[in-house]
């Protein structure tokens, strides 16, 4: 069974703080993704990585950065948290881009920035 774990289920941070969200997968997948989920907007891709130390911007990368030092771990960093980054953050992984492109998701981190 594919397992994707995220370091925290709930997180409360203050405006301006640096925030780290960690994601670990145990299926040796090359691809890893960070999304945020907001009501009425669905899942929007922030960043993805297709290999260690490789990263690509998604649709909404502003205000975020990522790190992938090991294959199984993909971190999302909010350099200076703002209230508009309050959201549900979802990490996913997948094998190399082969159909049907199924991604496996972690349980999510509900981040509140006050």
């Amino acid at each position: 069974d594919v397992k994707v774990t995220q370091s925290s289920r709930y997180l409360v941070k203050r405006t301006g703080e640096k925030v780290f969200l960690e994601c670990v997968q145990d299926m040796d997948h090359e691809n890893m993704f960070w999304y945020r989920q907001d009501p009425g907007l669905g899942l929007r891709l922030i960043y993805f990585s297709y290999d260690v130390k490789m990263k690509e911007k998604g649709d909404i990368p502003e205000g975020y950065s990522v790190s992938r030092e090991k294959k199984e771990r993909f971190s999302l960093i909010l350099e200076s948290a703002s209230t508009n980054q309050t959201s549900m953050y979802l990490c996913a992984s997948s094998p190399p881009g082969t159909p049907p492109y199924e991604q496996y998701f972690g349980p999510g981190t509900r981040l509140t920035v006050t």
């Binding site: 907007l41 669905g42 899942l43 881009g97 159909p99 492109y101 998701f105």
Partner: protein
């Protein structure tokens, strides 16, 4: 601009009846379409997919129909059960994107009533 649209934010259906969820897309390069199901406080889980070379795919109670000319797909759940109450996301991927990125719709909240 969202390339995958789910125009119905919610759907209420009686237990035992059919649930029909709709999804429209704008990018003609999409070649795979997926449906994900999400319960509160959990990550999305893969439900069913369809290739653009097919017009129907069935898995138990779940059937996905694809109309390429109309750029429209639908998910049928028959019969609907209380455990089907969740948010359903439509997603799409294109063969020009070897990383397997997915574009998600905004989701449809399904409530199955007794």
């Amino acid at each position: 601009d969202q390339q995958v649209k789910q125009n119905s934010p919610s759907l209420s259906v009686q237990e035992g009846r059919i649930s029909i969820l709709n999804c429209d897309y704008t990018n003609s390069m999409f070649d795979y379409f997926l449906w994900y199901k999400k319960y509160p406080a959990e990550g999305p889980t893969f439900l069913i997919s369809i290739s653009s070379i097919k017009d129907k795919n069935e898995d138990g109670r779940f059937t996905v129909f694809l109309n390429k000319s109309a750029k429209h797909l639908s998910l049928h759940i028959v019969p609907s059960q209380p455990g089907d109450s969740a948010v359903y996301f439509c997603a799409a991927s294109g063969n020009s994107d070897s990383w397997g990125k997915l574009q998600f719709g905004a989701g449809t909240q399904v409530v199955v009533t007794p």
